[in-house]
């Protein structure tokens, strides 16, 4: 691997945003294609972060600073990706459902998905069903990702799916769900397309639903 990309990978693992940004600039100056910087530098590093999390080496704080460092690099890279016509892996609308103000899980999922090359439209917390529907209409998203931390707000995931059905959008978008009280059984019972127990596995789920893995 190119030494600049190798250094970039280590910077992401260390959560060193400044060095990641410096190395993205250096890689661009060395004429490494933007798509290569993305897949072999940033995405590869975030894949490793996910693995370290699953192995119990990294915890949420380590993951958050790695993802933030990756995001810094990605911001610099974005115009070059557009210029080179590099398409995102998919477009995902994310949000914590209505009545729920918890965002750390949703933020982590967004960061990991972004780190896997997806484009994220983050609707934030306490998102009503109509806002998910509106975003699905305007953004032509491939996936809607919903999060809930409270057992009392979990039923609102079903309301979003019903609203998508009413708007005749359900066939054109996949729905994935997660959050502490959410289970595979619950996901199936509300007609979601998938469930992931953590941010790392949410990425694998999104890739698998879009036929990317």
């Amino acid at each position: 691997m190119d030494p600049i990309l190798e250094a970039m990978r280590e910077d992401v693992l260390d959560g060193d945003q400044e060095s990641v940004e410096d190395n993205v600039q250096a890689a661009l100056a060395a004429d490494i294609p933007a798509g290569t910087i993305l897949t072999e530098g940033l995405i590869a590093a975030m894949r490793e972060v996910g693995e370290l999390f699953e192995e119990g080496e990294y915890f949420v704080p380590e993951m958050l600073i790695a993802a933030r460092a990756m995001k810094g690099g990605l911001q610099l890279l974005k115009p070059h990706l557009v210029a080179a016509d590099v398409q995102p892996a998919g477009r995902i609308i994310a949000g914590t459902v209505q009545g729920d103000l918890h965002d750390i899980g949703k933020n982590l999922v967004c960061m990991m998905l972004e780190g896997a090359g997806f484009e994220i439209i983050d609707l934030g917390t306490d998102v009503p069903p109509e806002k998910f529907v509106e975003a699905a209409q305007h953004e032509q998203a491939d996936i809607i990702a919903m999060s809930a931390l409270l057992t009392t707000t979990m039923p609102n995931m079903k309301h979003v799916i019903s609203a998508l059905e009413t708007a005749e959008l359900r066939q054109s978008v996949k729905v994935i769900v997660g959050g502490a009280p959410v289970t595979q059984t619950f996901a199936e019972s509300i007609g979601a397309d998938g469930y992931a127990p953590d941010a790392s596995r949410a990425t694998a789920l999104a890739q698998s639903l879009l036929g990317l893995a």
């Binding site: 959560g15 119990g56 915890f59 949420v60 704080p61 380590e62 958050l64 600073i65 933030r68 009545g99 103000l101 918890h102 965002d103 750390i104 933020n107 409270l150 057992t151 009392t152 707000t153 502490a180 009280p181 289970t183 059984t185 619950f186």
Partner: protein, 324 residues
């Protein structure tokens, strides 16, 4: 008497579901009414005790009492847990706004102290109180994401927030003990996402101080998957660990000293809320069977039961628990 001695002296397994909210079905009340009115909440807890005859009863789990008492903005829905809406602490100086506040003058703090006084006067089982954990209160001050990052990049800020949290929690806990609490359970859910080392530094260190300051049985409750934290949790001086459904309980108890009691862990949502009474009975029997070799175990739920938990399921849990 220590918790382990009480557990061993008890005839049969102690059975203590973590319930509070489902009691609103018995008193036809809202969560909001119970959070603000001490008599209402006492009636709800007393109704649960009367109906299900558990070996201990806690008042309602409410992670916003201390946060509200220091002035963090709390939202109170009619029938859901209250939540802190904004997190105003970004620097150590931001903590100064809380320093002059005496939490014992707060209305909701007084409500919970009064609930405990009424429980102590009327109930002849073990009476338990909850207080928030220092790391979790720091998270409500700062926001969970900012707190997580600060454990790596701004450790001094996390320590300052956790120190202040500890200074808030101790007098409240002492007042609850004075009101008659036989045990105080520290709720520290936010610590679930940090490493064992970070737990020891940012949570365990302060939890230990709180237990030392409270002359009572200390229990530590953390929800979610806490397998990696069992050892540092035991090092806090907790006499009991109340742990959640994702844990493999036989594996967890094998890591614990024999004088620390493990409390749990029937799934509060998948089994207790969404299951049938037959499924509750089967899951309870299985847990009791798995834990049969261990005397230092209290049969409980992994976390607090949601308000809509069918009362028949709580009855099935108690019945299956008593059958041993």
């Amino acid at each position: 008497m220590n918790l382990i001695d009480r557990v061993i002296a008890h005839p049969g397994r102690m059975v203590v579901p973590l319930m509070g909210f489902p009691g609103t079905q018995l008193t036809h009340s809202t969560i909001w009414q119970n959070e603000f009115n001490a008599r209402m909440q006492f009636e709800t807890i007393a109704a649960l005790v009367d109906r299900f005859k558990p070996d201990a009863a806690f008042f309602m789990m409410d992670l916003a009492v201390e946060a509200g008492a220091i002035g963090l903005p709390v939202v109170f829905p009619q029938n859901e847990s209250p939540t802190v809406k904004h997190h105003p602490v970004h620097t150590i100086a931001d903590l100064d706004q809380f320093r002059a506040i005496d939490v014992l003058y707060d209305g909701r703090v007084r409500t919970y102290i009064s609930v405990m006084e009424q429980m102590a006067a009327a109930l002849d089982i073990i009476k338990g109180a909850y207080v928030i954990g220092p790391f979790t209160l720091a998270g409500l001050m700062m926001g969970a994401t900012e707190l997580a990052i600060a454990t790596i990049e701004r450790r001094d800020l996390v320590h300052a927030a956790a120190t202040l949290a500890t200074e808030v929690i101790i007098p409240y806990g002492q007042a609850l003990v004075a009101a008659g609490a036989d045990t105080v359970c520290i709720l520290e859910p936010t610590a679930t996402f940090i490493s064992p080392h970070a737990f020891d530094e940012f949570s365990g260190h302060y939890v230990r101080q709180i237990f030392e300051a409270l002359d009572t049985i200390g229990i530590l409750h953390i929800c979610g998957d806490t397998q990696h934290l069992i050892e540092p949790m035991c090092a806090t001086g907790a006499q009991g660990l109340s742990l959640d459904a994702p844990l493999d309980f036989p594996a967890a108890i094998a890591q614990m000293p024999e004088d620390v009691v493990l409390i749990g862990n029937l799934d509060p949502v998948r089994v207790m809320t969404n299951g049938s009474p037959a499924e509750v009975r089967a899951a309870t029997h299985k847990l009791l069977e798995d834990m049969a070799p261990y005397p230092n175990f209290i049969l409980s739920t992994g976390c607090d039961l949601p308000p809509e938990t069918p009362l028949d399921n709580i009855a099935a849990f108690m019945e299956a628990g008593r059958a041993t």
